[in-house]
Symmetry: C2
Subunit: 310 residues, 2 copies
């Protein structure tokens, strides 16, 4: 199996991407990597690459501010466009980029299919729990408006991710809501509750409130992508708050630093695609490669596919 | 002018309510108070009340778990029902309770009118900024589903509150959203943005993201009550997180302790009604009385009414 990495994506590319690859190769050689980008630039930074490392030349870059659809269409020699071509043809088995998020989304939906039965793919984030473990929050921005059926599917996808990647047995699913009791919430939450309750594919805990998010009451927290995105960015800002308060080294707050989780996989599509933060540095790249490796080795996608077979 | 206080509302009533009233009376005698509750109980705890303090006997209490509409209808001698009667007839000019929140909402809507032109009254919360000042977030749970017009009205009501109660000149309004650019967001945020932008009654900053909430980028943050409630409770939980991390005395995190802001006024109704946390102790009661005093002395309601005149 092979993981493809966009070496030109992100604010500190290709230097930090190269450093991240080197860190990964030093810690593991379980999975081979294909480095996609300006071959000369990348090779000059990675002088003693092992023979298993493949290079694929991509002379163009899609900038962070470019229009995703337009850029992907016009820049067929960009690292993102070539990455998706390799993924679609099976030359790589997973694709990672810290580049233009929109282009990664569009590329995913045009190049590889959704898992059959999945209405809307989703993106998630890790939220550190006070006890040292992690919970998963989804959707965090791909689907700003949702139907109840979408939330049920996010719960199923998130449960599988929590089980096989975060190694949580029988993960507890919570519906993000404004009160504990059934019947609380906006129209969407009211409609989603009975679907989640009736599902035999998840371990539904009931509603969780804003105060339960950091406390880690649930292992998988489900909501539409508007609320989820606000929660994600508010949680991420806790690291900055801690730095501002002189608590940079506090173990708990440090875990909100984006580098620790590396990137966000798109869940519900048929192959692993991981999107990194634009400001990704080496540890983030390394952690994204490790995450892709876990997704491949655990056959997470195969498990997701079998869950959505009619 | 007179402020009515429900002495029987909240988990620690009437003891903490009495203590809060005593603390208020020691610090100020600007506004008279009417204490509503079991007269014998309250008087036995408040032995040397000044002659300006009025007592109104209310032998019944609406419990925290009772059904709001049913309880208000049946318990006409409860402190909340009597409080609203006094407010409606003008015997008190503001009403405060830490009792059953639902009953306070229902009581408000049945006893006193919305300000003419206000489609939906709203509730707000104070969010501490890193620089030591405060911003206002609304709606935080009264309106889980909203239309764009509601968000515009929340922005106007919140701006007046920020100006006259928080003493912020020309408060900057931010629309809580998933991205900075115009056009981002769910259907509601997309529809609300141009209304906020076009309004001459507010100083619209544009979109703000989750990361801007604690950083305090805007003075008034507007969203529907679902997202707002999740933000509010997540922010409140920062105090508990800080306690858990041994940072109880950190000046910033301590400001998330609910006691510091006391209670939440219902904005958009024709008289001041303030709802306290069920776990309110003496300082929270004192601060709610001070807030009611500020609302009356600044004629906030008069200013709101003149803003919504067609």
């Amino acid at each position: 199996m092979r993981i493809g990495i966009d070496m030109m994506g992100g604010d500190y590319a290709p230097q930090e991407a190269v450093k991240g690859v080197v860190q990964y190769l030093q810690s593991s050689s379980a999975i081979d990597v294909t480095l996609i980008g300006d071959e000369q630039q990348v090779k000059s930074l990675l002088t003693d690459a092992p023979p298993t490392v493949r290079f694929v030349h991509a002379p163009d870059v899609i900038g962070m501010q470019e229009h995703p659809t337009k850029a992907l269409k016009e820049k067929t020699n960009s690292s993102i466009a070539i990455g998706f071509k390799l993924l679609a043809t099976g030359e790589i088995d997973a694709f990672i980029s810290a580049g233009n998020t929109g282009a990664m989304m569009v590329g995913t939906f045009y190049s590889i299919k959704s898992i059959e039965g999945v209405l809307r793919p989703t993106i998630s984030t890790i939220i550190p729990k006070l006890d040292g473990s992690f919970s998963l929050l989804l959707d965090v921005g791909l689907n700003a408006d949702c139907k109840a059926e979408n939330l049920l599917q996010f719960a199923i996808l998130g449960s599988l991710y929590a089980q096989h990647i975060l190694k949580i047995d029988d993960p507890k699913v919570g519906l993000v809501n404004v009160g504990e009791e059934e019947g609380k919430g906006n129209l969407l939450a009211q409609a989603a509750y009975p679907l989640l309750k009736a599902s035999e594919q998840i371990n539904f805990l009931g509603n969780i409130e804003g105060r339960d998010i950091l406390q880690g009451k649930a292992d998988v927290m489900v909501c539409e992508g508007f609320t989820g995105n606000v929660i994600l960015k508010m949680a991420e800002s806790l690291y900055d708050v801690a730095v501002h308060r002189g608590l940079k080294d506090d173990e708990y707050f440090h875990r909100f630093h984006y580098e620790n989780y590396g990137g966000t996989p798109i869940l519900g599509v048929s192959k692993p695609v991981i999107i990194g933060h634009g400001i990704s540095e080496a540890p983030a790249f390394k952690n994204m490669i490790i995450l892709a490796q876990k997704m491949l080795e655990s056959d997470l996608l195969g498990k997701m596919k079998s869950c959505f077979v009619a």
